[in-house]
């Protein structure tokens, strides 16, 4: 049984209210987890925290988990967006709060996890992106090997999604498999007192510990895999070689 503690809209709203952001970076976020999808993403950066808000482009219909019926020739899932809405990274509490879907249900929850440290390797590769001097760094995080290009001309500890710990703003980031990409589109200062929209601050959500969330997610995946294997007609040997739901985080690693 999933252990859930319920905190009624406490931490996110309060933390956000205290944060005064300096920069606003617009990203194009491309996820190729189950077919390419493009997200519009915004990163608001303060010295003490970063807020990353994202959603599917307006011309792409958002969908939750849809398992098509077995009367069709093919069946499967529409993509399950486990990475939607918002992420707040806080340096003071050393926590990341992430608005997520509870696997197997349409409800949302906030997953709380440590901020952690990403061991970035600086390759010395240099290039300019729109005249901004950028350096390459590589690091492994949440099961993926990321390559990022950041500029030390703009100091920023927080990057897109949950990436952090670099000495400058991340303008490009992608993982080895090219399933996850962040491409900065614009950077600008934020007027003092700006309060960006954050869906995490708009309601009350259950708060789950990361380990509990992952355990629940894996249980759900295992059930899905077994159901997939049993849906084929006679004579087909079925191997489920990959997870039926891909996520930006790879929980097995």
């Amino acid at each position: 049984m999933l252990a859930i503690c319920l905190i009624s809209g406490l931490c996110p709203a309060r933390l956000l209210a205290q944060t005064d952001y300096s920069y606003h970076v617009s990203y194009e976020m491309l996820l190729n987890l189950d077919g390419p999808r493009r997200y519009a993403a915004d990163l608001y950066i303060a010295a003490s925290g970063g807020l990353f808000v994202f959603g599917l482009d307006s011309n792409q219909q958002q969908s939750g988990l849809i398992a098509r019926d077995s009367t069709e020739a093919s069946f499967g899932f529409e993509m399950l967006d486990t990475v939607r809405y918002s992420i707040f990274s806080d340096r003071q509490t050393q926590r990341i709060l992430h608005l997520e879907q509870i696997p197997g249900s349409g409800n949302l929850c906030v997953v709380s996890e440590p901020l952690g440290t990403i061991e970035w390797q600086y390759t010395g590769q240099f290039r300019r992106i729109q005249e901004l001097p950028c350096w390459e760094a590589k690091g492994r995080f949440m099961g993926r090997n990321y390559t990022v290009w950041f500029t030390d001309s703009i100091p920023a500890f927080f990057g897109p999604w949950k990436l952090h710990g670099l000495p400058g703003l991340v303008l490009e980031a992608s993982d080895d498999s090219q399933e996850v990409m962040f491409l900065a589109r614009s950077v600008r200062s934020v007027a003092a007192g700006t309060k960006p929209y954050d869906p995490m601050a708009t309601g009350s959500f259950e708060v789950l510990d990361r380990h509990e969330y992952i355990r629940h997610f894996k249980d759900y995946l295992e059930k899905l895999q077994k159901r997939m294997m049993t849906k084929f007609g006679r004579g087909y040997q079925v191997k489920v070689q990959s997870s039926p739901i891909k996520t930006i985080e790879i929980y097995d690693q």
């Binding site: 390419p36 398992a67 340096r91």
Partner: protein, 884 residues
């Protein structure tokens, strides 16, 4: 832009000594210049002073403290940066005894005007097309297209070569926008090398007709491969060899292809004598099509006599296919210029088939009861050639023109040895077919929301048959002594059609389609029969019938499609006036085919669909001809003679709820078809022969209702599928001059399957199904047959390169008063796929229990029938696949 104002150094303490080569430690504290408060999270970059290369990065802790290890004696640079503070840089020389730094940073804002960033991406999304840069995803070791596609996120290639985007299979795999394989794209994806590929384009909402794009809802997906400039054309292919036991079993495949930007070639050769039906590869090309929206669909010649070979109900057709089959094909596609292309397809098939079967029939009629026994040794030779010339032009993106010409020439000879009630027969059927099919289609996107389509089609077809046997005369019942009979029956048809269509999509939710057309069809049935005394070879008598029939139709139809938030409604209505007749008997009919359908989503979990359609159909020429034509060595058929129009109403309703991911899925469907006016049979059944004629009857019907439920059992990690259904029919016919009989047939069926989803190397799939068919007989007694069959399969994964499977299936039938039949088939397979993929090996065993015969029983209102088929004996096959 970034402010480059001077940074401020307030205080620096540095203890430097002589150069050393060992590591040294830098300890530092960073504070706010004015308040003296320690600053946390300040980035400290260790860099080379000249090239600014970053060597290490640390951040200050909550006390503003940082610690760095510096190796080497060279001069280094430290840069301190934090949001809201000016950057500060200091250069220092490492010292063995360590360095201590106290840094004070001055507050400074870094106002940024908006910076717009443009970068090159490996994936481009433009409209409904997603373009992948192949070089970005290639790792250099991909050999075939499917290897490259596997590396592209979102595209999956299954073990059998099926390509899916997400979970939807693609419709086509094109090269430089050209396609001649259509759904047979696996040949291309598993044979074409990957290195010439420049880009992979994913085309969503794909429509083969560009002028239609966006007007008609399409959920189809296609892939297009663009080639690098330097790769004009290369040759590549695959070869497969299968050798089996018994030693004469052979399977050979050889495919060779070449794809250039201007010219494309594809060559295929197949041979086998182990039951595989290569002809199926081209069978779809030889059919007129069943799409009701396509002009000329369902127009074909009629054959009174068909080859005696039939698919065996219940089991795989290849189990009883004693064959020797060769298929050759050459296809090419040439770009004539930028807008026009020419496609040529050609196939040739040569087939030899043998079969043996024995049929025992028991007739129970009010006036007579008798049994018949027939044994057939069947030998069928077929040769078919098919050619297609297709020209397609896109003078602009708004207009599309297609001209397709098909030519089919086929011939077959059947030589059968029959024994009927201990009397031997020799039967010979020679069949020829010649068909010319010309299609023209023009599409013009006259407005962004509307398109006009014009279809023109001409078909010329003839199918003469020559049939002989030595037996009594079933048509005349005058000569009980053996005769030599000869029949020539030829059906020739001409079809000309012109149709214009207008499709307008005024909004996302509303589509209007109007069509009007005119068709002309001419049928000519030419039948001649002659009877000889087989002993004296003298002519006895004969007759000749020449039956022309013409059909001229003016048709129109309208379709309105309304999409609501929770459903879809379609109103479809057709109107047709026909002027038809035989010689001087002319008749004009007004046919109306109304219909509608509604689909409705009730919440997330329930979907309902309902429809009603009325259909009218003019009888075919064989249903009209008023003379008997022999349709077998013991049967003859006569048409209804008088004119009439068949009319049916069809109601359909379906419901589904749940989805299989939730572990429970339920689906039900039912339909009811009422034949207002329908053709039935009036038969005269005698022990030696049967004469039948078509008659018009009213109000027969048939229906079907079925449901299935899928339930995932968590405890067993297996899916349980349960199916059940009932179907029935009331049909009317006459037998042996008795009154019109209304007979009710009912069939009940139920089945279940259990398939495991274990994570380990072993999995199973078992199932069984039963059916009970009952018929009310002519003798007022009900008769029934009970049938059940099942299977038990086991799959084993042995590492990543070996796969094994064992399949067992069994059949049981019981007619009550006869001995029940039971038999089982056992098959197995082991495949090996080396990592290189140039080579693949497989060992297959079929019918390991060496079953020799398979029986199938049926019941009808006239009695019982049981047929036994000869089965291919046990065989083992070693198969090797090479790619080059």
């Amino acid at each position: 832009m970034i402010s480059k104002g001077p940074f401020l150094l307030l205080f620096l303490l540095m203890f430097a000594g002589e150069h050393v080569s060992a590591q040294s430690t830098v300890l530092g504290f960073v504070k706010d210049q004015h308040t003296g408060i320690p600053l946390a999270g300040v980035s400290v970059l260790l860099r080379e002073p000249e090239q600014q290369k970053i060597l290490a990065v640390v951040h200050t802790d909550e006390n503003g403290e940082f610690r760095l290890m510096i190796s080497g004696p060279e001069l280094v640079e430290l840069m301190f940066s934090a949001m809201g503070y000016a950057r500060y840089t200091v250069r220092l020389i490492p010292h063995q005894s360590g360095i201590r730094l106290d840094i004070l940073l001055e507050e400074a804002s870094l106002p940024l005007e908006e910076i717009q960033i443009q970068v090159r991406k490996p994936i481009y999304l433009h409209g409904d097309t997603v373009t992948f840069d192949a070089a970005h995803f290639s790792k250099g070791d991909e050999r075939y297209v499917e290897d490259l596609l596997k590396r592209i996120p979102g595209i999956q290639v299954a073990e059998d070569g099926t390509i899916r985007y997400g979970h939807q299979e693609i419709e086509r795999l094109m090269v430089e926008g050209d396609d001649f394989f259509e759904k047979g794209y696996r040949v291309l994806s598993t044979s074409m090398p990957a290195y010439p590929i420049d880009k992979v384009q994913l085309l969503k909402k794909y429509s083969a007709n560009r002028a239609m794009k966006g007007l008609v809802e399409s959920h189809q997906i296609a892939l297009n491969l663009t080639l690098k400039k330097e790769y004009g054309a290369i040759w590549f292919g695959t070869a497969k060899l299968g050798l089996g036991l018994p030693v004469n079993k052979l399977e050979l495949n050889f495919d060779l292809m070449k794809f250039g930007k201007q010219n494309k070639h594809y060559l295929i050769n197949q041979y086998n004598n182990r039951g595989l039906r290569a002809y199926d590869l081209i069978a779809h090309l030889l059919k007129p099509g069943t799409d009701p929206d396509r002009l000329g669909s369902n127009v074909y010649t009629y054959r009174y006599l068909n080859p005696q070979t039939k698919d065996i109900p219940g089991i795989q057709p290849s189990r009883a296919n004693f064959n020797n089959e060769l298929l050759g094909s050459y296809n090419t596609l040439v770009h004539l210029n930028k807008d026009w292309r020419l496609k040529l397809l050609s196939y040739h098939n040569r087939d030899r088939q043998r079969a043996r079967r024995e049929t025992n029939d028991q007739f129970i009629l009010p006036d007579t009861v008798f049994n018949t026994r027939e044994r057939l040794d069947y030998y069928h030779k077929r040769s078919a050639g098919f050619g297609r010339i297709e020209i397609e032009g896109n003078p602009s993106g708004k207009r599309n023109f297609i001209s397709g010409t098909d030519l089919l020439v086929s011939g077959s000879v059947d030589e059968n040895k029959l024994t009927f009630n201990m009397v031997p027969f020799l039967e010979n059927l020679r069949d020829r077919s010649l068909k010319l099919d010309q299609r023209l289609q023009y599409s013009d996107r006259i407005r962004p929301d509307a398109v006009v389509l014009v279809d023109l089609r001409m078909m010329l077809e003839e199918s003469p048959q020559k049939y002989t046997y030595a037996a009594g005369n079933p048509a005349e019942n005058l000569h009980p002594v053996p005769l030599r009979f000869f029949q020539h029956a030829a059906h020739a048809l001409q079809f000309y059609g012109l149709e214009g269509r207008y499709i307008q999509r005024s909004s996302q939710k509303r589509t209007l389609e109007l069509a009007m057309g005119r068709t002309y069809r001419s049928d000519l049935l030419d039948v001649g029969e002659r009877y000889f005394n087989s002993l004296s070879e003298t002519y006895i008598h004969g007759h000749y019938t020449w039956y022309p029939y013409r059909h001229l139709a003016l048709s129109g139809r309208a379709k309105i499609r309304l999409l609501a938030d929770s459903g879809l409604g379609t109103i479809d209505s057709g109107l047709e006036t026909t002027d038809s007749g035989h010689q001087h008997q002319r008749r004009t009919d007004l046919l109306v085919d109304p219909g509608f359908s509604i689909s409705w989503d009730i919440g997330k979990d329930h979907k309902l669909y309902g429809s009603y359609f009325m259909g009218t159909a003019k009888p075919e020429i064989q249903d009209r001809i008023p003379v008997y034509v022999v349709s077998g060595y013991r049967s003859a058929l006569r048409g209804a003679g008088q004119s009439g129009v068949g009319r049916t109403s069809t109601w359909t309703i379906s419901h589904q709820s749940g989805d299989w991911a939730s572990g429970l899925f339920f689906h039900s469907i039912a339909y009811f078809i009422w034949h207002h006016h329908h053709l039935a049979l009036n038969s005269a059944i005698y022990p030696d022969y049967t004469l039948s004629e078509k008659i018009w009857v009213r109000s027969p019907f048939h229906f079907n209702a079925q449901s299935s439920i899928d339930c995932f059992l968590e405890g067993l990690s297996s899916n349980l599928k349960i199916e059940w259904g009932v179907s029935g029919a009331r049909f009317k016919n006459q037998v042996n001059g008795l009154s019109l009989h209304q007979s009710i047939n009912l069939a009940y069926r139920a089945g279940l399957q259990l398939r495991s989803g274990f994570s380990g190397p072993l999995n199973f799939h078992v199932g069984a199904r039963s059916s009970l068919t009952s018929v009310s007989g002519r003798d007022e007694n009900d008769r029934s047959v009970f049938r059940t069959d099942g299977f038990a399969d086991c799959f084993i994964l042995l590492g990543k390169q070996f796969e094994g499977k064992v399949l067992y299936e069994w059949y049981f039938s019981d007619q009550g008063d006869q001995n029940p039949d039971y038999l089982g088939f056992l098959d197995c397979g082991l495949s090996y796929r080396p990592v290189t993929k140039y080579l693949q090996m497989e060992v297959v065993g079929e019918n390991l229990l060496n079953v020799r015969n398979y029986s199938y029983s049926t019941v009808s209102e006239q009695g019982f029938s049981n047929t036994s088929f000869r089965i291919l004996p046990r065989q083992m096959l070693v198969r090797i696949l090479l790619r080059f």
